[in-house]
């Protein structure tokens, strides 16, 4: 299973499922459900961005929400000013990527350790939250776009066909775009991971010093991974701003950052599909919690995070994979003798 997860077959399988959903799902379900499904997809893009930089780059970013929020705000502010959404769409990817590059430069070229990395990213998220939160009132605006402070920015114009500002996107188009981009991001990252650069990235995660002695500069590779993660998170932010035509400072908040981490932990670190599974499961659960009064969603999410760290540190997808593999080996006695990958994973969890 571990071998299967790393093979091109699993990537092809996931992409095929995605394409099938893209073709058939809009015909099966009504528009309201489709809109609900779209937000799962948007958040999945965000989950994949953290799954990539954490699971493959070994960079634990506690502030992925910062890039997400920055993407949403960049899109909102620039589209209000420009009208046409083509440039704002690109800006919402470029601005968070530049921000990530700047932050990554401070962190990686300052050689700050994992722990400091976590705290700094958390701090940056809080800075942004505090800043945006305090910009209520008409004097805070960029161009024609009032920042709105804690009220957020309402009525964000939706994406439109490039060059034609009148032809704006429908809910169905939004679904297609979100799922399409999710597939593209997934496929692109899988291709990157199995390329030469991807091998170096994973090698740095496994043993930074050894990679460095072999002549690779870990700082540059980490910076690249972090920047790419920021760009993808920004893209998710842009989609989010479109989905609800609304953005508010809470998307910079600690709760949002914690959610992303929980998606990845629950789904499984070291896979790209895991974060998507975790994201969909947890979002569904949060929605269900919202319909009753007994349990608070913070309480349940916190309990899930603690329990997963203690009991299922690998996450659902790899754990289920290993379980299947064990069952498979029992039924086929002449199975593989070497089991290198899970052992390496287990050791890494201990470290």
């Amino acid at each position: 299973m571990a071998r299967f997860a790393a093979s091109w077959k699993s990537a092809a399988l996931c992409i095929a499922i995605g394409v099938l959903l893209l073709i058939f799902l809009p015909n099966v379900i009504d528009d309201f459900t489709l809109i609900q499904v779209t937000i799962y997809l948007v958040m999945s893009v965000l989950a994949v961005s953290l799954g990539f930089i954490w699971g493959f780059g070994g960079i634990l970013c506690f502030g992925q929400a910062a890039f997400f929020g920055l993407g949403a705000y960049t899109y909102a502010i620039s589209v209000v000013n420009m009208g046409d959404s083509t440039v704002p769409f690109m800006l919402s990817i470029v601005v968070p990527a530049l921000f990530a590059a700047l932050l990554g430069y401070v962190i990686f070229y300052g050689r700050l350790s994992d722990v400091y990395m976590g705290v700094i990213t958390l701090t940056v998220t809080l800075i942004l939250f505090n800043l945006i939160n305090s910009t209520a009132g008409p004097e805070w605006k960029i161009g024609n776009a009032p920042l709105g402070g804690f009220n957020g920015i309402p009525a964000i114009p939706p994406l439109n066909w490039p060059g034609n500002a009148d032809e704006s996107i429908t809910p169905r188009g939004m679904f297609n775009l979100s799922l399409g981009l999710l597939i593209v991001v997934y496929a692109g990252l899988r291709a990157l991971i199995s390329s030469r650069i991807g091998h170096v990235i994973v090698a740095i995660k496994e043993n930074e010093q050894r990679a460095q002695l072999l002549g690779y500069d870990p700082r540059a590779y980490k910076l690249f991974v972090f920047t790419l993660g920021g760009a993808i998170a920004g893209l998710a932010g842009c989609l989010f701003a479109n989905w609800g035509s609304f953005t508010s400072p809470t998307i910079f908040g600690l709760a949002q950052s914690a959610q992303i981490i929980i998606w990845v932990i629950v789904g499984g670190l070291g896979t790209l599909m895991g974060p998507v599974v975790g994201c969909v499961l947890i979002q569904w659960l949060t929605t269900q919690i919202g319909t009753q009064q007994t349990f608070n969603s913070n309480l349940v999410l916190g309990a899930i995070l603690v329990l997963f760290v203690l009991l299922v540190p690998k996450g659902l997808v790899p754990s289920i994979g290993m379980l299947l593999e064990r069952l498979g080996r029992r039924s086929a006695p002449a199975g593989r003798s070497s089991d290198a990958k899970p052992v390496a994973l287990a050791k890494e969890q201990q470290a």
């Binding site: 634990l60 401070v106 300052g110 050689r111 700050l112 994992d114 722990v115 400091y116 976590g118 705290v119 700094i120 958390l122 701090t123 940056v124 809080l126 800075i127 505090n130 800043l131 939160n133 305090s134 908040g253 600690l254 709760a255 914690a258 981490i261 932990i265 349990f295 608070n296 969603s297 913070n298 309480l299 349940v300 999410l301 916190g302 309990a303 899930i304 995070l305 603690v306 329990l307 760290v309 203690l310 540190p313 201990q350 470290a351």
Partner: protein
């Protein structure tokens, strides 16, 4: 002249509040290398403990200085036994688990007491300096910070308990061989750290208002102070508090309190780029 006096008091107060907010975290991180992301929630619990004690008719000072640390220290020991102890040496997992605990505690308190702000009126009144009025409570906070720093130093350096704690943190196997149970030392240290966080929550409750999510307002400042301080617990705590507290208050004085906080966090990031090991990684080496 009056203005200068006010600014000095405000800067001292900024430094003192950072010392108080970060002390519990500094003990837990500095001694045990455990990043406790539930630190803000421990403070929140301290504030709620103070509020609860007041409601059943306990004197305010007893509530702040006795009830809050005791309750939160107890909760800290409980959580250490249930969760943290299984994760020693796995720094990232500890961070994640304590983040989970932080959400869990917010959830529990919200379910139990509701998502409303409760206030405790600021005691002790105020006095005037020229045309300005200063709350006496501000001076109390400064005083408590000084006492806290001196007491921490005395306990760590002069008492048997401090010696055992420092020895265990340096070499747990050796301490074990000498008949001291590292597990118990960790438990007590975590409990003391939690109690200090509880005390901080109780002390700040009259100034901030008590809500389940109040912890989030302190967590970044506390972490930045402890990490900016570097390896030496006490010198780092005081050094970083002085540096960041002064920046915070001066920027707040020149613009708005929000920008004061932003300036603090920004200064911290720049400083960590220049001094990745924190202040005591470069200066005051070998101090406590």
């Amino acid at each position: 002249m009056d203005l200068a006096a006010i600014v000095v008091i405000q800067v001292l107060y900024g430094i003192a509040s950072l010392v108080i907010v970060s002390a519990g975290l500094a003990v837990i991180f500095g001694m045990m290398k455990v990043i406790n992301l539930a630190h803000g929630e421990f403070m929140m619990l301290g504030a709620y403990a103070t509020l609860g004690a007041l409601k059943i008719g306990i004197n305010l000072w007893v509530a702040i200085f006795v009830a809050a640390p005791l309750v939160v220290g107890g909760i800290g020991v409980l959580l250490e036994r249930l969760v943290i102890r299984r994760l020693y040496g796995r720094m990232i997992d500890t961070m994640l688990a304590t983040w989970g605990l932080s959400l869990l505690l917010v959830g529990v308190v919200t379910s139990a007491f509701g998502n409303t702000t409760a206030g405790i009126s600021t005691p002790l009144g105020s006095f005037t300096v020229g045309a300005y009025s200063v709350s006496v409570y501000t001076l109390l906070i400064i005083g408590v910070a000084v006492v806290l720093g001196v007491a921490l130093r005395a306990v760590l350096l002069k008492t048997q308990l401090g010696l055992i704690a420092r020895g265990t943190m340096q070499n747990p196997a050796m301490a074990d061989a000498l008949g001291i149970s590292p597990s118990r030392v960790y438990m007590v240290t975590f409990g003391v750290g939690a109690a200090l966080s509880g005390l901080a929550g109780g002390l700040l409750a009259p100034l901030t208002g008590v809500v389940p999510t109040m912890g989030g307002a302190f967590i970044a400042k506390a972490f930045i102070t402890v990490i900016g301080g570097g390896p030496a617990i006490l010198a780092g705590l005081v050094g970083a508090s002085t540096f960041f507290g002064a920046i915070n208050q001066i920027a707040a004085f020149l613009s708005t309190p929000v920008f004061g906080e932003v300036a603090l966090l920004f200064a911290a990031i720049v400083m960590l780029r220049l001094l990745p090991q924190g202040i005591t990684g470069r200066f005051f080496k070998g101090s406590l």
